[in-house]
Each structure stands twice: as C-alpha cells, then as structure tokens.
C-alpha cells in the first residue's frame, strides 16, 4: 500500500544524504588538517622542540622575557581600554538610534558601520591623513592657535592606537547595543515609574540586568578584535607599543627567532581561545534572551516640547554628540579620497595617482605595478570567496542536517564534531595562521613559486567563520516544522534543500560571500607575512608607501579599496543584516 517507488527513492535519498555528509566532513576535515592543524602542529614543534628533543626552555624563555611580558600587558591594556571607550561612546549612541526614528536613520547607521569593514591599512592611512602630525586636525589646530606643537600625536603614543581602535570598532558596540535597548519594553519602565522608582533605580534594576548580556558579548567582540590588532599597532606603535600579533611578526620576520615567535603564537592562541569561548557563551545567552521576544519596541520621532527646556537641552546635546561621532567616523574616509586627488608636489595632476596605476614606475618598490596589485587583490578575493562559500555551505548542510536523523533529540555526532573543530580556527590570529603555513610549507615548490596559493588559503581560513555565521544565521530563521511538513508531504532531502532551504539561505550566502570577499580584499597581517615578489595586494602596496611624504599614490590605492568595500557593503545591506560577529 505504500508506493514502492517512493520507498526506493527515500532509501536512495538517505544513502545519498549520509554519504554527502561523510564526504563533506572528510573534505572539510582534510582541508582543516592540511592547512590548519598541520601548520599548527608545526608551530607546536617549534615551540617545544629545539630540533631534536622536547624542551620547555622556549616556553620558559618566552614567558619570562620582560619584553614579552610588557607587550602582553600592553595588548591587554589597549584592548580593555579600547573596549571601555567604545562602550562609553557606543551605548548612548545605540540608545539614540534605538529610541529615535528619523529619515535616513538606517542609511546613516549603515554608513557608520563602514569603518569596521574597511581594510586595516586603509583605516591607518585615513588616520595618518586626518590625525597625523601634519594631518588635517593638527594643521587646523596650528592654524587656529598658532601653537607649533601638535594637539594629537598618533605615532608612538598610546592614545593614537586607542583612537584608531575606537574608530575601527565603535560601530560594533553601536549596532549590537541597539537590539539591547530595543529589548526593553517601554511599558516596563512606565510600570516601574508608576511604582515610584527613580531613574537611577530603573537603570540599575530594570535596564542594566536586561542589557548586560548583550553588552558583554559586544564588548568581548571588540576585545577580540583589538587584542589581535596588527596593522594599526605595527605602524602607530612604532616600537614602543606592540600587540602580541606585532611582536610575533617582528620575532619571525626581523629577528628570525622562529622558536620564540611560535611559542608566543601558542600563548596568544590559548588566550584567544579563552576569550572566544567566553564570547560564544554570552552570545548564545543573548540569542536565547532575544528569542521569543516580540518586537514591541516603538521608536519615537525627535521632537522638542515647549514645556521642558531641560528636556530640549538634553535632546540637543544628544544630537550634538551623535554629530560628533559622525564626523569622527567619516573624516578619515573622506580624507583618503581627497588626499588621492591632492597633488603631492607642484605641477602634478590631481589624477596623478590614478595615472600611476598604469605605470611601472613603482614596480621595484611594490613588487609589481599598482594595476597588477589591484588585479591580484581582486583575484585573491574572488578565489577566497568561491572556496569559502563552497566550504561554508557544505558545512551548514552538515551542521543543520539533524532534522531528518533526529533521534532522541540529541545533537548528532557530526554536528558536535564540526562545531568543535571550527572553534580553534576562529581563535587563531591571522599571523598565527600565516606563520603556520610558512613554517610548514616554506620549502615547498608551491610556496616558492606560487605563494599566492597560501595567501588565498589563509584568507579562506580567516573568512570561513564569518561566512558560516552569516549562512547559519539565515538558516536559523527557517522554521524546522516547515521542513518537517515538507518531508511528510513526500519531498526528498534535495527537493527540500532546493525548494525551501536554499531560498532562505541564499541571502546568507550572498552576505557571507561578500564578507569573505571584503576580508580578503583588505587582509593585511597574514598577507604581509607571506607575500613574496610580485604577488602583493593593494594593502601591501599601501603599507610600503604609507610612511612616505607623498601620500597621493597610497591614498589612490586606498580610495579604490574604500570604493570596492562600500559597494560590497551596500550589497550586503540590500541582502540582509550585517553580522558583525565572528
């Protein structure tokens, strides 16, 4: 009485599904083993072996070296302070965006997120143009006051690094605190007021406990990003300030101390893993809190009342504060674009930078012509996108394959397996990925002649967590019951995938893909460690010119990156929400 063809199809379906899961795990596992775990074990080898036998002397040397201790403390200190400043500025800004509704709010919010997706080296250049000792701010200051010494010094100062980090990460807090503020029902506050609670009490007892989780996970995210900051600290820190990331780079690249570098990389990896696990914990708690909450929050229009002057003043101050943040956010980006048209000497055309793209004049310095660098950049980014997407879609397929084999409500082995092996790559810094690749492959023919393969692979490893997250967050919006219904109606696993799941996740795939593209586009740390000869990217090109007096050419290259990034970003905005999370 049951259709035999249906039965047969179902059997084939199950076998196929199982074998695909097996193949994906195999492929993904071997990818990770070859390009992540094997390089990582090489780092272990350098940290624990002097070539012949096991030794702990490197570990002991590394953790007792006063320089390392100092840099470790600095890494913590700057990450904590950057995080605190971001919180102090970002939480009220988030409140403003949550509370008030005005025209162009979303666009503004999106534009304010751009710094976060800009390549680090571009941010750095924008910073030098804006806040450098002969930059805009200091010129205006000198012009206004006649005082010769600059008001802001960004090179070799703690505050320079902090300002850059705040600029880079502020949007994370703003964006992530908006849902926090929105999660609080205004009725709760009304009720509390009616019960006679003071504003302070309401803040402490009603608001704070409810937004705490959101804020902790946002803060941890900023901590992770700044803890692993590279380009900004490499250039602004001069030698006085180094994050572990910079220190590892210098040990490996300038001092050729591979053992020391590898050991420090391991220490950094352990610290990162701890923070990532903490973050994942708070993030899932935030998600649980957000789940099942109806969208009850109502934004209001900005309005001035005739009665309360005090209230008007506070709104005005608020708007002023937001405007300051906007200027702070946009000036470096605008500065880069203007700088690219600013002739570096008399008689030079404003378009000189763009003309230089097609010349070979800077080839010995850049390793290639600027145009080739652009093509390299785009090529690496495209390859990274394709590989990342293939791997992440397959990964999601495995991670979310449980409904069919849902036995005893248990998380399947494959899901567990995959979610564990992915945490470590997430916690591994770009430099560590790069030195692993370098230590393992630096004598291989591919490394010597086609180093771009490893550059792309490193970019893939960096992008996968982001892309997988985007796709997963799209996938998680699918009601599992819907898939259940579809299967009771007789649809095969693949019909369900193409007819339902794919339609839900394709936005996630686009967002994830663009994310991978943007990451590869601006990746600097790993690329600069691995790069050889002609395989440079625009970021590398900019970095080679960033200390020169003539910022026109690097500003031109940076402008191109800015424009591509903005385009990517607008596409992301069109297709879905940007996931700032790792």
């Amino acid at each position: 009485m049951f259709s035999t063809t249906l039965k047969k199809r179902a059997k084939v379906d199950t076998v196929l599904n199982k074998s695909i899961i097996f193949l994906v795990i195999l492929a993904f596992g071997s990818f990770l083993i070859l390009f992540f775990y094997a390089p990582l074990s090489k780092i272990f080898q350098f940290a624990f072996s002097d070539g012949n036998q096991l030794t702990f002397s490197f570990i002991i040397e590394t953790i007792t070296d006063p320089l390392n201790i100092s840099f470790l403390l600095f890494t913590f200190a700057q990450a904590l302070l950057s995080m605190l400043i971001c919180l102090i500025l970002g939480i009220p800004a988030g409140y403003f965006f949550a509370k008030y509704e005005f025209r162009g709010k979303n666009l503004l919010l999106n534009l304010m997120t751009i710094p976060f997706v800009l390549p680090a080296i571009v941010v750095l250049l924008g910073f030098i143009v804006t806040y450098g000792e002969s930059g805009w701010v200091n010129s205006i200051w000198t012009g206004l006051t006649g005082i010769d010494s600059p008001i802001i010094e960004i090179f070799g100062t703690f505050e320079g690094i902090l300002i850059a980090h705040v600029f880079y990460n502020l949007s994370v807090i703003i964006r992530m605190s908006i849902p926090a503020w929105k999660s609080i029902d205004t009725e709760q506050i009304n009720v509390a007021k009616s019960l006679g609670a003071s504003n302070w009490l309401i803040l402490r007892k009603i608001i704070f406990p409810q937004i705490l989780n959101y804020l902790v996970s946002a803060a941890l995210l900023v901590f992770i990003y700044t803890f692993n900051s590279f380009a900004i600290v490499l250039y602004l820190g001069e030698i006085k300030f180094q994050t572990l990331e910079v220190r590892i780079y210098k040990l490996m690249k300038s001092s050729l101390d591979f053992n020391g570098g590898a050991t420090l990389a391991l220490i950094q990896l352990i610290l990162n893993t701890i923070v990532i696990i903490l973050y994942l914990f708070f993030e899932s708690r935030t998600r649980q809190m957000a789940e099942g909450k109806e969208d009850i929050f109502r934004s209001e229009k900005i309005s001035f009342s005739k009665k309360s002057r005090r209230k008007n003043m506070s709104i005005l101050l608020f708007i002023l504060f937001i405007l300051t943040l906007i200027i702070f956010t946009f000036s470096p980006i605008v500065a880069i674009i203007i700088e690219s048209f600013k002739p570096y000497a008399d008689g030079i055309s404003p378009l000189w930078g763009y003309q230089q793209l097609f010349s070979n004049e800077y080839m010995p310095l850049l390793g290639n012509s600027p145009l080739r660098l652009l093509l390299n950049t785009l090529l690496f980014a495209s390859l990274t996108t394709v590989i990342t997407l293939i791997l992440s879609v397959l990964l999601v397929f495995v991670l979310r394959n449980r409904y069919q084999s849902l036995k005893k409500y248990k998380i399947s082995f494959s899901e567990n397996f995959v979610s564990y092996i992915i945490i470590l790559p997430m916690a591994t810094s770009s430099i560590t990925l790069a030195i692993g690749m370098f230590l393992l492959f630096n004598n291989s023919v591919i490394y010597l002649d086609y180093v771009w393969v490893f550059i792309v692979l490193t970019h893939v490893l960096i992008s996968i967590p982001f892309a997988t997250r985007s796709i997963l967050s799209a996938y998680n919006r699918i009601d599992i019951e819907m898939l259940n219904v579809a299967s009771t109606l007789g649809a095969s696993r693949f019909r369900i995938f193409t007819k339902i799941e794919l339609l839900y996740i394709y936005r996630g795939i686009i967002v994830g893909g663009i994310f991978a593209f943007a990451i590869s586009l601006g990746e600097f740390a790993a690329t600069s460690f691995l790069v050889r000869g002609e395989y440079g990217t625009l970021s590398i090109g900019i970095s080679k010119l960033i200390t020169s007096q003539t910022l026109q050419l690097p500003a031109t290259m940076a402008s191109i990156l800015v424009i591509i990034t903005i385009i990517c970003f607008l596409v992301i905005q069109k297709f879905g929400d940007i996931e700032l999370k790792v």
Binding site: M1, F2, S3, L6, K7, R9, A10, D13, T14, Y403, Q404, L406, K407, K408, Y409, D479, E481, M482, N484, V485, A486, S487, T488, L489, G490, A491, S492, R495, K499, I500, L503
Partner: protein, 355 residues
C-alpha cells in the same frame, strides 16, 4: 481494522521519559482526540507517527502495515503542525501542490486535485494569494488542504484551533469534522481543550505520564473518569482532589471545600470528588441535616443559560479562593438570591461522585 496502531512506544528526552510503553489504537476512519496537558508528550507522539522523530522503542502500524522504519517521505501521513507553517515564499496553490509534485503527478492531475481539495476545505478564492495575505483561520485551512491533498492514510492535527479567534473555532472544527467524515480519513487530533473533544471526536484518549490513561467516547469518559486528573484534563466542573482520608465508623474524604462522609469501605483508591451542578440546591437559611453538606457562599457571577435556567458561580465563605458552579431556575434565583447577602447550598453526601 485499525487505522493506526501504536505498540509500546517509548521516548526519552534528556534522560526524562516522556512516553513510556504507550499503546494506542485509532480505528480506521475514526477521529480520535488525544487530550492532554501541555508538555505531556502529545506533540511528540504526533511527530513519531509522522516519522519526524524516531521512537526509542515500539512499533507503529498503519492499516495493519508496519511503518516504524519508514522515512516521513513515504509514510503518506498528513501532518498539520500547531503553527501552520505554510511555505511563505509559495502561493497557496503552490503550497497545496508541493506534496503532489513530490509524487510526480501530471500537471492536470495536480490541478484537478488542488481544485477538489480547495472546494472541500473552502479556500477556492485564496489559491493565488501568499500566506502573508490571508488570516489565521484561512492559513489553517490551507495547511489542512495541503495535508489532505496527498490523500493521507492518517491525518495528524496538532492543536488546530489554538491560533484561531474564538469566533472562527467552531466553524473550523466542523469543517475538519466534515472533511474527515467525507474522506473517512483516520485522524489523530491533539488538543488540551476538552470542549474540542466534546465537539467533534468519535473517541477521546486522555494522556499523561507518558501513557494513555483512558480511552472511550467523550460522554463515557466524562461521566466515569477513571480519576481526578482525567476529569480535570477533560475540564469537568466542580471537581476537587482529595486532600486526605480518615476512617472511623464512616470514611471521611477531606477536600478543599468540604469533608464528605461515605458509608462503606472503598475498594479502589479515591483521588477526587465531583459535585455535579445538578445535585446542588440553594437555600436562604442554614440547614441542619447530617446527611447533607451545607456550605455558606456568596454569589460571584450569574450566567443566563436560557430564559429559565441560570448558572451561578459562588465563592465559598470559608475558603474564598475556591468557587463552585450551581444550576438553578429563574424562580429559585429570584427567591433565594439577594445581592451581597450570603446564601447556603446543600447536597447529599451520597450523591457526590467519587473519582
């Protein structure tokens, strides 16, 4: 012939047993209402029938064929989950066609089937709309149509009325009943609301503690619930659990509202009492009679059931958190009840139904 037969089904969730050696038989063409409180495992049971969850133990037969190991795709079971979960990116028509397309029917056949089921369910006018453009009740009908289109061996309905406005509930329930009868589809209908069972079921099965506790026609179960819990699940009025019992010359059953004395030794364990509204009388004054239970009350609300029939809801003076329902005639009402004045109700110990 058993339309659906389940034997010794067990299911654990995080080490807690939610179904334990459950047996259930639904006769062919019958509508069986599975009644239970939330979290009792009734939805899990539906999913097990649909094949979405594999039971840890047990066997399932549909029309005497074992389906335990079949995948949901081939079971041909119509499943309507609680939230209707229509495919939001498909029109109503495509939603209904989804299962038919999976069966590789010809276009004409699919078209024909869609129109047949749409007429039957009463959604012919909605075929070209998207799910977001129709009301909750209509969505439920579409979900029903989608499940019925594949001519399922079994139809599974999970709280189909829960997300519908009160006004539409009865109509939808009756539609379900009509279609089920017309197609004589074996149907398992899950709800927590006894009224739904009273409205459309052939039989009702009450489930708790992972087992079917009582099964039978609604009236039979209502009149002879096996215990207090079943009566409560069914939503019977004026029932109270026994707090404790005392045995002297008579047995005393203590409850929240009163103590009941019964003559004889009771063989089975008594879990509760039921005081049907019909056995209760009202009086304006205190009555002294050892055979009667007399309670002092205030009138809380009065509901006019008809011209001459009133239902009173009374607060107990001694125990204000409890209330009791009493039926009375208009004449009695006018005679005994004055606003803000206490009244007395009384009933015979022996007329109290023991559960």
């Amino acid at each position: 012939m058993a339309g659906l037969l389940m034997k010794e089904i067990s299911m654990k969730y995080e080490k807690k047993l939610i179904l334990e050696n459950l047996d259930l038989e639904v006769k062919h063409g019958e509508l069986l209402v599975l009644l239970g409180e939330s979290g009792c495992g009734k939805t899990t049971l539906l999913k097990i029938v649909a094949g979405i969850i594999q039971p840890e133990k047990g066997t399932i037969y549909v029309d005497d064929t074992e389906i335990t190991d079949l995948s949901p795709q081939v079971r041909q079971i119509g499943y309507v989950p609680q939230a209707q979960v229509l495919f939001p990116h498909m029109k109503v028509k495509q939603n209904i066609a989804f299962g038919l397309e999976a069966r590789k029917l010809t276009k004409e056949a699919i078209e024909k089937k869609i129109h047949w089921i749409a007429d039957l369910v009463g959604i012919s006018g909605l075929l070209d709309r998207y799910p977001r453009e129709i009301s909750g009740g209509q969505k439920q009908r579409v979900a029903l149509a989608r499940a019925m289109a594949i001519e399922p061996h079994i139809l599974l309905l999970d709280e189909p009325l829960s997300s519908i406005d009160a006004t539409g509930r009865e109509a939808l329930a009756l539609t379900i009943r009509r279609i089920q009868k017309e197609t004589s589809t074996t149907t398992l209908y899950v709800t927590h609301n006894g009224d739904e069972a009273r409205l459309i079921s052939d039989r009702v099965a009450v489930i708790y503690d992972g087992k079917i506790q009582q099964i039978g026609k609604v009236l039979d179960v209502e009149q002879h619930p096996r215990n207090y819990l079943i009566a409560r699940i069914l939503g019977s009025p004026n029932i109270w659990p026994i707090l404790y019992t005392k045995k002297k010359e008579k047995t005393m059953l203590s409850t929240q509202i009163c103590d009941i004395f019964i003559q004889d030794e009771v063989n089975s364990k008594i879990t509760g009492i039921k005081i049907p509204p019909s056995i209760i009388s009202i009086s304006k004054t205190q009555i002294e009679d050892p055979n009667l239970v007399v309670l002092k009350c205030f009138v809380k609300t009065m509901i006019e059931k008809s011209e001459d029939e009133y239902r009173l809801i009374l607060d107990l003076k001694d125990n204000p958190s409890e209330y009791i329902k009493v039926d009375c005639s208009r004449v009695e009402y006018e005679k005994y009840v004055t606003e803000n004045k206490e009244i007395y109700i009384y009933f015979n110990h022996l007329e109290v139904i023991l559960l």
